[in-house]
């Protein structure tokens, strides 16, 4: 009885692990564009926080402006590269792997 049960369990496990019909459903690989979008979201989040905290009266105007301009610079650079990649998907496809 025990032997039979153990054999059945082993068979079921082997079947589950090794029987792979059809094509595998894997998620997409991470692209430079996806990475840039993540970065954009992070910088946007920081900008929104900054704006909100400024409105809440946490920083004086001068601190706010200096922090804001540096974050906006960062955001602009990311947006520009996103725009470039979105405009020229063909060119990107033509390249051999994009290291970031």
């Amino acid at each position: 009885m025990t032997l039979l049960l153990c054999s059945l369990i082993t068979l079921a496990v082997l079947f589950y692990v090794f029987y792979l019909p059809g094509k595998l459903q894997l998620g997409p690989e991470k692209t430079r564009l996806a990475y840039l979008r993540e970065r954009k979201e992070a910088v946007y989040e920081n900008l929104r926080d900054l704006n909100f905290e400024y409105r809440a009266g946490k920083f004086p105007e001068s601190d706010y402006q200096s922090m804001k301009s540096s974050l906006e610079e960062e955001a602009a650079a990311i947006l520009a590269e996103i725009a470039r990649l979105e405009r020229a998907p063909e060119a990107v496809r033509g390249r051999k792997g994009v290291r970031i």
């Binding site: 990475y35 970065r39 704006n51 650079a77 520009a80």
Partner: protein, 159 residues
């Protein structure tokens, strides 16, 4: 953020110290002070006066010994010393401030001081250090393109 347990416990013990101070001079308080400097040796890992280990063969006897030692008007140190001789050094609840045991007390404070100094020095060094390109760095933009994208970022992040 959360340092809860240790904060509380240290408060607890500092409170015990207050408690001890309040009754200074009083014989009961002296019993309590010295009794709280020793462990019960039965293996229950509790402070001698807090051992309620039912049927404990040690704590009752030790309390009796402590009482009689205190009544002989011996100094606290002498009493503790006699317990160490009888039950071994593990009877004392905390390391003494002598010899190698002093290292136990020094190290955490040393770590704190060294750590604070390191953080201050590191922050200063980082302030002066030029930023090297990191993985995934994005090239900065200038001119009209910069203005356009900055405006876009500004609009999209308005609260």
């Amino acid at each position: 953020m959360v340092l809860s347990l240790k904060r509380g416990c240290l408060l607890g013990l500092l409170c015990f110290t207050i408690f001890a101070f309040l009754g200074a001079g009083d014989e009961d308080a002296r019993f309590s002070t010295v009794g709280h400097k020793m462990m019960c040796v039965c293996g229950c890992n509790q402070v001698l006066l807090e051992c309620n280990h039912v049927g404990c063969r040690y704590s009752d006897r030790m309390r009796g010994e402590l009482s009689s030692a205190l009544s002989r008007a011996e100094s606290d140190d002498l009493v503790l010393q006699s317990f160490v001789q009888e039950y071994g050094p593990t009877v004392l609840i905390a390391p003494t401030n002598a010899g190698f045991n002093r290292v136990a007390w020094i190290m955490p404070y040393l770590a704190l001081v060294l750590g604070l100094t390191t953080v201050v020095l590191v922050v200063r060094a980082w302030k002066l250090r030029p930023l090297r390109a990191h993985a995934g760095a994005v090239a900065p933009v200038t001119g009209v393109e910069f203005e356009r994208f900055r405006e876009q970022a500004r609009k999209e992040t308005e609260v």
